[in-house]
């Protein structure tokens, strides 16, 4: 395995200089710095994160807390976040909260006990008060945990508007959207408000079908899809996440309702699941890799003790035309 000594030798510098570059501490001439980075790349050197973290009195571990690892949105987020964290010399601890409510408290405890250096959480079941008591690095993905905790999300207002406009362009007059629980404080609730508003302004009807709180398993989504197909066979437009939309297309087909002939559909998230159904889903894409990069970036700044200039980040969504809308 390549060592820091190998890098130093190749770059014709001392180990201390390589260390300064790796730790971003102390002055290194730009030219020397470049030579060291070239050597790192050529030798495919992985800095010894453990040693580096010991030096900095850190664990080198970041915890990612999500409601369900196997939900495609969270799976793609973890996939991307793990890669960025690895690049920063951090290992990634993973926590599912779907089974037990006290998971979240348990991981906050790990953070308090300094067993992990920071937390990125896509979950929100505890009181905001419990977060307020912690003065350690936390970043929230698409959750509002109080003004002192940075929140990274997409521009859901824009996403809701794009979805509504796609259905209106397809001539929809009676649409159904699957909404989350409004008592969970998440920026994503805004997409449903804007969606409903834009549909109503166009003179259309908007039915809000309430999804059960924090339920992300496919068997639940499938059950919900069957219920929607059974109770609302006459809708001409549908809006939900990739997975639920795919399940609804399936359930509707079993009722003889074809998409896009009999109804149009717009999905949200843009995971690989939006590409699986036939026809392929029109989707509002969340830039999941950028969400992960931004979360890690804000967490690293907190770990380094930097002051955050912005704590409410909103990334743009992308409209991707599929074959489920006109």
């Amino acid at each position: 395995m390549t060592t820091i000594q190998d890098v130093a030798r190749k770059a014709h510098v001392g180990v201390a200089t390589v260390s300064r570059v790796l730790n971003e501490s102390g002055y290194v001439k730009a030219e020397t710095r470049e030579r060291i980075l070239d050597a790192i790349r050529e030798l495919n050197y992985t800095p010894n994160a453990v040693a580096r973290n010991l030096y900095h009195r850190k664990t080198g571990i970041v915890a990612l807390i999500v409601p369900e690892i196997s939900h495609p949105y969270f799976a793609e987020f973890i996939d991307a976040a793990e890669a960025v964290l690895y690049g920063c010399g951090y290992q990634c601890m993973i926590c599912n909260t779907k089974r037990e409510q006290n998971y979240e408290a348990y991981y906050l405890d790990l953070l308090k006990q300094q067993r992990v250096d920071g937390i990125i959480t896509g979950v929100h079941t505890l009181d905001i008060e419990q977060y307020r008591q912690i003065d350690r690095p936390i970043v929230a993905l698409d959750r509002q945990l109080g003004s002192h905790i940075p929140c990274v999300a997409v521009n859901h207002e824009e996403g809701g508007r794009m979805a509504a406009e796609a259905l209106i362009r397809s001539g929809c007059r009676k649409v159904l959207q699957v909404t989350g629980q409004s008592h969970v404080s998440t920026p994503s609730n805004r997409r449903h408000e804007v969606f409903e508003q834009v549909i109503r302004e166009s003179g259309g009807e908007c039915i809000n079908y309430l999804s059960k709180w924090n339920r992300f398993s496919y068997s639940y989504h499938r059950e919900a899809a069957l219920e929607i197909a059974e109770n609302y066979p006459d809708i001409d437009g549908f809006f939900s996440t990739d997975v639920i939309t795919a399940a609804v297309l399936h359930a509707m087909k079993e009722k003889g309702r074809r998409c896009p002939e009999d109804f149009s559909a717009v999905a949200y998230d843009g995971t690989f699941v939006s590409r699986l159904p036939y026809p392929e889903l029109t989707t509002i894409v969340q830039p999941i890799s950028e969400l992960a990069e931004t979360c890690v970036d804000l967490l690293m700044k907190q770990i380094r003790g930097d002051v955050l200039s912005e704590t409410n980040i909103r990334l743009n969504v992308i409209y991707r035309q599929g074959a489920t809308t006109a």
Copy 2:
């Protein structure tokens, strides 16, 4: 938060007795033990894993190494393994190897340095020799890493046979299967050998389409599916994983080839993806939760220093009839 003192009070015993039950050390009367377990359940008590692991001189961390976190098979495996590990008082570290070859070596180093207590790996890019040098807890998921490392997999021979027989029952005479690289030592190669053999014995033709090594991303699967639909439009049977089969159904439809009218298909894995396409896929289901439980069980035994009576575990697959075969 509930403490061990609360549990002791409720069960009318001392803290040391609760501790003996939690640590499975020392004698506790069956009746007392039951009372303590009841109290733990009623109070929803989470044992302080950190304290317990410090006591046992462990890190309390297990690393899961997979080629791609967001592939549904691995995502569902991680989801299940994390839950079982949590139940054993362990946190779960997660490692993607898709981006860099030296990831695997890096995590083996963490194990050697006792920064993690054990590894469950679904990856195999290093020489077996590198594994032979490590006398620490490792379990392999569906990979052969040498006789000293336990391997947990399904009975792939049976899976390959079931898939072939389903296609033969559907009248297929010219089938295509997507195979992995034969130089990767994995029990799952056996399913392709048996599949081909059973098809040939029935008088049918079997085309083996070679999948690129360790490629698990959907964009690659989609590309492969388009290539298959383009070059083999006249096959009447298809066999691959859930994700690839779903992608092939899609690509074939664009060529005007319908399933099951024009060709039959059997998928492998049984993740939620097998339920998304219309028609729903006939699938050979891997019991992913049981695979995870078995891996964790074998790892815990190694961590405790138990001698393993069996190191080659094969779980049964399940045939699930969908609408893509007769």
